[in-house]
Symmetry: C2
Subunit: 492 residues, 2 copies
């Protein structure tokens, strides 16, 4: 199998697809639109999960687990939510297969095992969860209810791409219940902040926080908060959303509580989620024509050591040094792997670890043993240096922070270079065509204009940025007055 990647400038989309497969992150499966997440890809996802889970618990949330299936009658209870997901949901209609009398050795659905009520494979769990919350919430003492679930969900998308859009994906979904509107809004904002902190500080991906417009809102939400990242091809990627659901689900499922004062009211809700889509954001933010580039925080192995040797004796000597380095690095909580496979040559190992984005590579050969040095290579900059053995641990530890910071800075600078304020529609189209990226432009606030712009340019409003300042201007399309710029881009 050729490990050579298509270059980004040649065909960005092909580069992405090849990279995902060749770096052993994921691959397509025998099931239309569903992926297999391979061990190396899953190890990165586990790192994301662990950090997010820690952040959720730190903010008072607990994990639970709700059923995979949603009975049709519950699914349709919140009308907008149902409408939003009905078009793309997998439906279980039978509970048994039987031998097919017409095809010996084959099975068929048993027509007698038809379910009385169809079950929808959850595309999201508001319905089944709010139906459950009805039994859990009676009084203000039961609130707030702060619950998260790690789960798989299914949305029958017609055009799928590994990690970015798959029929089944893994995610977490938080579902919270509150006594007041203000508290629910605060929660939705808090979790959007958790997501942006996670993206920026852990994944080294700068994001713009903001509010979705009505047409881009989650089906059933009153407001959708989001974080938007910019990929290297100038397209935006929605990396996480947090929804203020108002009392929509409480009303649909009749979830009321008695306040301290003895008054009955519907409960206020939020939901929020990030998914394996973050893997796509990670790949498309940092990687290059040589393969994956991983921030140290997300690397299953932060350092790999490759021995260079000709004789068994040399191998033993190198291994002894490697073992010392490993225990020194592990003592500082740096993960390190000694690639002592005898079935591959150093060149092949270098190529593999470069393709898989290991942040630092240490090579040790006989010459190094003589000099008391090693060769240290950085994946992000593709630079090498010779480092004295006795300084190595400190240097590596320092580089863990440096690389993490540099990757963020690089992505931040890229975004700054690809964010353009435009004031006319000609300019708008011109920027989109030439450089892509984020466009900050005035908009008149109507769905109609938003739709038209999308129709003509394929760009959508990614969000109304949280930090956008008041500024009077005129809508880039309709010329109507506007008092702040919103963020446009073509998006994944």
């Amino acid at each position: 199998m050729s490990k050579k990647l298509t270059k980004r400038a040649e065909d960005y989309s092909k580069w992405y697809n090849e990279l995902v497969v060749k770096a052993d992150l994921a691959e397509n499966s025998a099931v239309r639109g569903c992926m297999v997440i391979k061990p190396y890809g899953y190890a990165i996802w586990e790192k994301m999960q662990a950090e997010l889970d820690r952040m959720f618990k730190e903010t008072g949330h607990q994990n639970a687990y709700f059923p995979l299936f949603v009975p049709k009658s519950l699914f349709e209870a919140e009308e907008k939510n149902a409408e939003g997901f009905a078009k793309e949901c997998a439906v279980v209609t039978h509970y048994r297969l039987q031998n097919d009398p017409d095809n010996p050795g084959k099975l068929r659905v048993d027509p007698e095992a038809k379910l009385e009520e169809e079950l929808v494979v959850r595309p999201t769990s508001e319905a089944i969860i709010w139906n459950t919350y009805k039994g859990w919430i009676q009084s203000y003492r039961d609130l707030p209810l702060l619950i998260n679930q790690w789960a798989n969900v299914v949305r029958w998308e017609m055009r799928t791409r590994l990690f970015l859009r798959t029929a089944e994906f893994l995610w977490q979904e938080g579902h919270t219940a509150h006594a007041t509107e203000a508290e629910a809004i605060t929660e939705a904002e808090l979790m959007n902040n958790v997501y942006s902190n996670f993206a920026e500080n852990f994944m080294a991906i700068p994001v713009i926080k903001g509010l979705k417009t009505e047409s881009e809102r989650f089906a059933g939400a009153v407001e959708t908060y989001c974080i938007e990242a910019l990929m290297q091809d100038g397209k935006a990627l929605q990396a996480g959303t947090s929804h203020f659901l108002g009392q929509n689900f409480a009303k649909a499922f009749d979830v009321k509580f008695t306040s301290k004062e003895g008054k009955q009211d519907y409960v206020w809700a939020t939901s929020w989620g990030v998914s394996t889509r973050l893997m796509g954001a990670l790949i498309m933010t940092h990687s290059d024509d040589h393969g994956l580039v991983l921030p140290p925080n997300l690397a299953p192995n932060q350092v790999v050591i490759v021995p260079i040797y000709k004789t068994d004796e040399q191998f033993d000597e190198v291994s002894e040094v490697a073992n010392t380095i490993m225990s020194d690095l592990r003592a500082r909580n740096i993960s390190v792997k000694y690639d002592n496979r005898t079935t591959y040559r150093p060149g092949a190992k270098f190529a593999q670890h470069e393709l898989q984005g290991v942040p630092l590579r240490i090579a040790i050969g006989p010459k190094d043993l003589e000099n008391g040095t090693v060769e240290l290579a950085r994946r992000d900059t593709l630079t090498k240096e010779v480092v004295a053995l006795d300084a190595l641990t400190d240097v590596v530890e320092g580089l863990m922070t440096t690389i993490q910071d540099d990757l963020y800075k690089k992505a931040f600078d890229f975004r700054a270079d690809h964010t353009t304020k435009v004031d006319t529609f000609e300019e708008f189209k011109d920027v989109l065509e030439k450089t892509g990226g984020f466009i900050l432009a005035h908009w008149d606030g109507t769905n109609e204009t938003e739709d038209k712009i999308k129709e003509i340019t394929k760009a959508t409003i990614r969000c109304i940025p949280e930090d956008s300042v008041e500024e009077s201007g005129v809508c880039v399309f309709s010329g109507k007055p506007s008092n702040r710029r919103v963020l446009f881009a073509k998006a994944y």
Copy 2:
């Protein structure tokens, strides 16, 4: 809601169902046979997951993720496996709902969105995984392949019980591929040992390791290793299984490899799993008429501190001491919760923590402040003692080990008291009726006898114990010769 439990001696089954719900572990959902795992129950499951995951990684396994759906044509490829699961599988036949023209506001399956090929919701993943492995394995260099998956699976069981038998459950499933038969058998045995270590040392549940008979084997396996535990009602519970699959799946999915010598052969396989059923084992091994009893290893909170006070000043003084205790305990990695809720009285808190099985409860009141003591209550023995504050951390730390060990010993002694060697079928029936438990008896090795015994007594062969000694005797039912005793019991 009454927190009072039915007593075990009155109605064991009712006691179990009430305990699961009242201790906030799980509850039934709106979906037939599917449960909701509540935060407290899920926190215990997370502890199991973390420890098992650590053990799997320590033995060289990596996690990955495979699709939820299995296309029918793959599902039916390994005939015995298909036959075993076809009768109880959920089948997705459509991928869209639409507005129901006959029922405004309701949805129905869109008849035009019928899948060309039905998708089975995985009851187990051998088929989809071995179809994937075909692409991953070419040479001996790709072996062994040691992969685990944490996932949900669905088996459409007709009679369900929380944790013990549910239509959807959570589990891990390991799927490994090997170059030789011997290596695969060693792996299957190793993982059964991992399970028994986990059950005994982490969950404090003694288990019998052994081999299943042909009729109790996993559908598609050559041998099934298992661990069997004994519940307090004298019924057995299969707590984990590890299968040697021979070349069955490699042949069904045409997975061959080239050996070092250049020869082609089918790959050898294992699979192994434990599930949320372990929650049932945990509950039914240790708990009592007062509620859940948790071994310290599995307790989300190992210690709870309840303040006793009348005035705000007393509360502040007690809280100050509680805070010191908490930081001392946390410094020794003991998890502790300060139950300072003002909406509940101490009595209600005591009852709740007893019901939820918190291993140690510390109560602090004004009298304790004067004396420099606290009241320490053990959940497992329901005993209390007064402990000097300056000795508390050591005492608590010591009790963590003591309680863990005592629970194991208690369960071990119970099992010893409820394991009977019998030599006649009269005795066999008598023991089953009077005390239940494990029965060690000779068996002639035939399916026929096994079936007859099951038909008459409802007892099954739980396993042929690994440590059963050779001993000549005659089958308890047929009188035919036998050279070792096997383990019978009625089982969950």
